[in-house]
C-alpha cells in the first residue's frame, strides 16, 4: 500500500492507494452522504446515495478505490437529482410516526430528508402488508425499514452470525413510467428496495443468534429496536456517559445513556448502551448487561469500622480482576504498607504466562492487538473458546475471514458451530484437551522460518516427518479410437451404402498411481484428516499478514511455561503477530500492577470474592463497594490500552479509597492514583482528567494511552518436547461461559437471562440418556456439583461446558487450574 494524493472538490488529500473514496473523504472532514456503508465492512451498494464523480465518471464513493491523481467532485447537477430522487423514494410509504418512533432525533432518514431538502413527493407505489415482528430481544418493523441492509452487513461481516438476510416483499412492480422519468440510480435502488424486506436466515420468527444487538445499533431508522428499550425514552432526553465496558478484556468504548428513572424518582438510570458502531462492535453482554450497579447504598459506618478492623487483622486480600487499575494500585500500596498477600489466581497465571513468554521474546507484552488481527488475512487461534472468552476477538476473526477474504485455523477441543459458520475458509481442529503443545509445534512446523529456528527444534520437528507412499487416483484424458458404421451416399452410384468410419475422441480415465508424500505425524496426532495439507495450501493462497490469538486455556495448562515459550517462538520465528486474550476484564492491568502471591494466609479480605470479610460491589458482602458503572477509573484492555471509564450512576457508600485513607494512605479521590500509575512499568503518568476518549473520523482510536512494551533479558530458546501421552479422554468438562455471560456482574443484570447450569450441546444431549432441565451430578477428581442441564446449540461435540459466571455454582472447584477435566456425570 502506498500513499497517493487525490483531489476532492479542490482539496488535496493524502490517502492510501486502494482506500475507498468515502473513507478518504471522511478522514479529511469532507461530507459525502452515505446510508448503507459501514466502516470496516464490505460495501453493500444498497442506498447509492454516496454518488460522486471521479475523473468525469459517476462512481459510488463507498466502493470506488482511490488512485493517484484522481479528481473527485461530490456534487454535480445529475448527482443532486439522483440524491433528491433517492431520498424521495425512501420517504415513499414511510409512516409519519416519528412521534412514537424510538429512532426519532437520531434517525438518518430524518436527517438526510432534511439535508437533501425533500419537501414534496413525486413517486408512489402501492404498499403491501408489512406488519411488525417480535424477534425476541429485537423488534422488527418492516414498515419503517428502508432495506439499507446495514443489519445484514453488520451481522455477516462483523459479528459472523449470518442471522439476517433479505427476503421477498411481495410488492407490486413499479410503474413502468418511472423507469423513463426517474434518475437511473434512484430507480435501480427503488426497484431493489421494493422487492425486499429483512428476514431471518433460520426461517422461523425468533432470532437464534449470539444476541449482540449490533443490528439494532446500526439501523439508521427505527425498524430494528431493542425490545427492552422500546418506547422508554426519546433519544434527545438521554445523557451519554462515556465509559469502557467492564465485562471482558476487550475494553470496548461504550456510552451509558442515562435519564431520571421516572417522574417520581429523579435518580439517574441507565436506559441503554450505545457504541460508535463504525469503529467498535459490542457483544450482547456489553449492550444489554448495564444494570449491574450496587443500588441504594448509604454510608454504613458500622460496616465501615468493621472493615477497618478486618483489614487490621487480615494478612491476605483475595480479589478478582473486575476492578479498575486504580483499585489494583490501591491494593498494591496497601500490600507495600501492611505486607498483605494479594491473591488472584486467574491473574497470577496470566502474569506467570506473560513472564515466561518474555523470557524468550524479550518483551514484556505481546506484540499485536485485535485491530491488527482484524486487518490480517490469516488467523490461527489456540486455547480459547473465542466467542465467549472475548467476543471482540471473535469479531476480528470473522471480519478478517469475510472482508479480507482471509482464512483461519481454530484449534480448540470444543466444537463451535458459530465459529464454523463464519466462513468456508476456517478449519476447526477439535484436538484432545492438553494437546495445545502439539498444536503450537504444528504451527512452528508449518509457518516458522526454519533457517532461523534453533537447530534442535528443527531437528525435533523433522522427527515427525516421514515419507509414505500413498495411492492417488488421477483422472487423465486418453484418446479413444472407435470404428462406427455410417450410412453414406456413394457419389458415383448415387446409392446409399454402409461405410466404416474411424472416429477418435478424448475420454477421461481414472488411473491409480503410487506417489511418495511427506507425512506429518503432528497432523494425525491432533486428530486431523489426511487432506489437511491440501486444505491448508488452499487457505494459504494470497495470504500476507498473519495473526496468532492465544487464550486462557494455555495460562492454566500444566505445561503453561513451555506453552508460553512456544508461543514466543512462533512470534519470533514466523510472520505471525501475537495477541493474548486476558482472562477477565482487567487481568492484564492486575498482572502488570500487582505482585501476586500463590498462597493465601489465614485471615483474608475478599473483594468481590470469598474471604473472612467481604467487600462486594454485588451488594452481598459485609461492606458495599461501587460497581464499575458507578466509579471513575481506568481499565486495561486486550489491545494494550488503558481506557478511562466514567461513573454513570451515583453511589452513596464507601469506596476502596476510603478504606485506604482510613488505613493511612491519603488521597482525596480514587482517580488521583491514575497519575501515579506511571510508576508501574509500561504505564504512563497522565492524570485521569487528561485522558482522551474518542475515535477520529478516520477511525483512529484515541482513548487513554497505550501501554509500552519494554525489553527484558532473554534466556535461550529451548523448549520441552511433547509428552504424547498427555491428553484427556472420555467424558470431559470445560469451564466456559454461555454467550453474553462473563462474571457475577453479568448474571445480576435483568436483560441477560442465561441460566446457570450444565451446558450440553443439543446433539450430545439428544444422544445421551438425559434431558434438558434434569438435574445431574458432575464429579471430578477435585469435587462435584449438582445442577440443571441446559441444552445449548452454540456448542457442539460431547464436551460438557460448565459456566463460571455464577460463583454460587463454584465450577472452578471442579478443576485443577486447567479449564478441562475428566468427569463423570450421573443422574441424581
Amino acid at each position: 500500500m502506498s500513499n497517493v494524493v487525490i483531489n476532492i472538490d479542490g482539496k488535496e488529500i493524502e490517502t492510501q492507494e486502494g482506500e475507498f473514496i468515502l473513507n478518504a473523504a471522511r478522514a479529511n472532514d469532507i461530507f459525502i452522504p452515505a446510508i448503507c456503508y459501514l466502516t470496516r465492512c464490505s460495501p453493500t451498494l444498497a442506498c447509492r446515495i454516496c454518488l460522486v464523480e471521479a475523473d468525469g465518471k459517476q462512481v459510488y464513493a463507498c466502493n470506488a478505490k482511490a488512485k493517484d491523481g484522481m479528481n473527485i467532485t461530490t456534487s454535480t447537477e445529475n448527482i443532486e437529482k439522483e440524491k433528491r430522487a433517492i431520498m424521495e423514494v425512501y420517504d415513499v410509504n414511510h409512516p409519519l410516526q416519528c412521534g412514537v418512533c424510538d429512532q426519532s432525533g437520531e434517525c438518518e432518514l430524518q436527517n438526510y430528508t432534511l439535508e437533501i431538502g425533500v419537501d414534496s413527493q413525486n413517486y408512489t407505489v402501492k404498499d403491501v402488508d408489512r406488519s411488525s415482528h417480535d424477534w425476541g430481544h429485537l423488534h422488527y418493523d418492516p414498515g419503517l425499514c428502508i432495506v439499507c441492509e446495514r443489519c445484514v452487513t453488520a451481522c455477516k461481516d462483523m459479528i459472523g452470525d449470518n442471522s439476517l438476510k433479505t427476503i421477498a416483499r411481495g410488492a407490486d412492480a413499479l410503474e413502468a413510467e418511472f423507469k423513463e422519468s426517474m434518475p437511473k440510480d434512484a430507480y435501480a435502488m427503488w426497484n431493489k428496495l421494493n422487492k425486499s424486506v429483512i428476514g431471518l436466515t433460520n426461517g422461523t420468527d425468533v432470532l437464534d443468534c449470539t444476541s449482540c444487538g449490533e443490528c439494532a445499533a446500526v439501523c439508521p431508522v427505527g425498524a430494528l429496536v431493542d425490545t427492552q428499550f422500546m418506547y422508554k425514552s426519546n433519544a434527545w432526553e438521554l445523557t451519554q456517559i462515556p465509559a469502557t465496558c467492564s465485562h471482558c478484556s476487550a475494553g470496548c468504548q461504550i456510552s451509558y445513556d442515562v435519564k431520571h428513572t421516572s417522574i417520581e424518582n429523579p435518580e439517574d438510570k441507565i436506559y441503554r448502551v450505545m457504541n460508535e458502531w463504525n469503529y467498535v462492535s459490542l457483544c450482547g453482554a456489553g449492550r444489554y448487561g448495564f444494570d449491574y450497579e450496587n443500588r441504594d447504598v448509604v454510608k454504613d459506618e458500622v460496616a465501615f469500622s468493621n472493615a477497618i478492623e478486618a483489614f487490621k487483622k487480615a494478612d491476605t486480600i483475595n480479589f478478582t480482576s473486575t476492578i479498575t487499575n486504580e483499585e489494583a494500585y490501591i491494593l498494591e500500596k496497601l500490600k507495600d504498607k501492611f505486607g498483605y498477600k494479594l491473591v488472584n489466581e486467574e491473574a497470577r497465571s496470566f502474569q506467570t504466562f506473560l513472564k515466561d513468554y518474555s523470557e524468550v521474546s524479550g518483551t514484556t507484552l505481546y506484540g499485536s492487538d485485535l485491530k491488527e488481527s482484524m486487518n490480517s488475512n490469516f488467523i490461527v487461534t489456540v486455547g480459547t473458546a473465542i466467542k465467549t472468552d472475548n467476543p471482540n476477538a471473535r469479531y476480528s476473526l470473522n471480519n478478517s475471514l469475510t472482508v479480507n477474504k482471509g482464512a483461519a485455523l481454530y484449534f480448540h477441543p470444543v466444537a463451535d458451530p458459530v465459529v464454523d459458520g463464519m466462513s468456508k475458509n476456517i478449519l476447526s481442529i477439535n484436538h484432545k484437551p492438553l494437546q495445545e503443545e502439539t498444536a503450537l509445534y504444528l504451527i512452528l512446523d508449518l509457518f516458522a522460518d526454519k533457517s532461523k529456528l534453533p537447530t534442535d527444534i528443527v531437528e525435533y520437528l523433522a522427527s515427525f516427518h516421514s515419507m509414505k507412499t500413498v495411492t492417488v487416483t488421477e483422472t487423465i484424458k486418453e484418446k479413444v479410437v472407435t470404428v462406427v458404421k455410417e450410412m453414406k451416399v456413394n457419389e458415383e452410384t448415387g446409392e446409399e451404402e454402409e461405410v466404416e468410419v474411424e472416429k477418435s475422441k478424448m475420454a477421461p480415465k481414472k488411473v491409480s498411481k503410487e506417489v511418495e508424500v511427506d507425512d506429518n505425524r503432528l497432523i494425525s496426532m491432533l486428530g486431523m484428516k489426511d487432506d489437511f495439507n491440501e486444505v491448508l495450501a488452499k487457505f494459504m493462497k494470497k495470504k500476507d499478514s498473519f495473526s496468532l490469538i492465544v487464550g486462557p486455556d494455555l495460562y492454566n495448562h500444566p505445561n503453561s511455561k513451555n506453552l508460553a515459550r512456544l508461543v514466543a517462538l512462533v512470534e519470533k520465528y514466523s510472520k505471525f503477530e501475537l495477541v493474548m486474550i486476558p482472562t477477565l476484564t482487567n487481568t492484564l492491568g492486575v498482572a502488570l500492577i500487582n505482585e501476586l502471591s500463590c498462597e493465601a494466609g489465614s485471615n483474608s479480605i475478599g473483594y468481590n470474592t470469598k474471604g473472612d470479610f467481604v467487600l462486594s460491589a454485588l451488594g452481598d458482602g459485609d461492606l458495599d463497594m461501587p460497581a464499575i458503572n458507578q466509579q471513575e477509573g481506568t481499565l486495561t484492555s486486550i489491545n494494550k490500552r488503558v481506557n478511562p471509564t466514567n461513573a454513570a450512576l451515583s453511589y452513596g457508600g464507601y469506596t476502596l479509597n476510603d478504606i485506604a485513607n482510613a488505613l493511612g494512605l491519603s488521597v482525596e479521590n480514587t482517580i488521583d492514583y491514575t497519575l501515579e500509575l506511571g510508576n508501574v512499568t509500561g504505564f504512563e503518568a497522565i492524570a485521569f482528567d487528561d485522558l482522551p476518549d474518542y475515535y477520529t473520523n478516520a477511525g483512529e482510536e484515541i482513548r487513554g494511552f497505550g501501554l509500552t512494551s519494554t525489553s527484558v533479558a532473554t534466556t535461550d530458546d529451548s523448549v520441552e518436547k511433547i509428552d504424547e501421552a498427555l491428553m484427556l479422554e472420555n467424558d470431559i468438562i470445560y469451564l466456559a461461559n454461555p454467550v453474553r455471560q462473563f462474571t457475577d456482574f453479568t448474571k445480576v443484570t435483568t436483560n441477560l437471562d442465561e441460566e446457570s447450569g450444565i451446558y450440553m450441546s443439543a446433539e450430545a444431549l439428544e444422544k445421551s440418556e438425559y434431558s434438558a432441565g434434569e438435574s445431574v451430578k458432575v464429579k471430578t477428581a477435585n469435587g462435584e456439583l449438582t445442577a440443571k442441564i441446559i441444552s445449548d446449540n452454540k456448542i457442539a461435540g460431547n464436551i460438557v461446558v460448565l459456566p463460571t459466571f455464577d460463583s454460587k455454582l463454584n465450577s472452578e472447584a471442579l478443576v485443577d487450574g486447567y479449564r478441562f477435566a475428566t468427569a463423570s456425570i450421573q443422574k441424581v
Partner: protein
Amino acid sequence: MEQFNNRNVAEGGYYLVDIEDYPTDGWGKFKRVVKRSFKGELFVGLWVVLREMIRFDIHTISYPEEKMPIGPRYRAIHEMKRLWESDTERCIGCGLCEKICISDCIRMDTKIDEESRKEVSEYTINLGRCIFCGYCAEVCPELAITHGGEYENASDQREHFVEYADMLTPLDTMKANAQKEFDGFGAITPHEDERVKKTPLSY
C-alpha cells in the same frame, strides 16, 4: 406610509401644548393648592359616578359570581384533548412538548402497552415554573396539549390541575360532544388544505 416616515416635527400639525410652569416658591405652591381645591374639578368626577349610578349602567362585574368571557386564544391552564372518534387521548407520547418547554416544567414517562403501542404512563406539568408561553401547544403534532380558559389556579395543593387525568377532557364532556378545540397556538390555520402539497398515492 409616507406620512409616517416623515419625521420633521416642524411641519405636519405638531404644536406645543400650553402648560403652565410648575411653581417654584412656597407662595406659588400655596396658590396652586387653593386654586385646585376650590375650582370644583372634584365634582366633575363625582357627578359622572352619580349619573351612571342612577342610570344603572354598571361596567364592573361581581367576580367571582360573575366571570368575563375569555378569548379563544387565551393561554391559561393546559388541557389534554381526546379524539373525537374514539374518546381516547390524543397524546402519543412523542415528547416534543417536554423538549421544547423553555422553563423545563413538563415531564412524561412512556412505556410499551399490551398492544405494542407507545403509552404515556405519567405526565406532569410543574405549574410553579410554567410561564404559559404556549410553545407546548404549538409544537404538539396531535393537537393534544392545548391551553384552556381556566385561569383560576389558586389551590392548597401544588399538584392540582397538573395531573394527567385532570387535564384530560372529561368523558362526560366527550359524550355531550362538548369538547372545544383550541384556536390559539398550534391550531390548524384556515385554508390549510389549499396550501399543502399533496403526496401522490397509488390507491
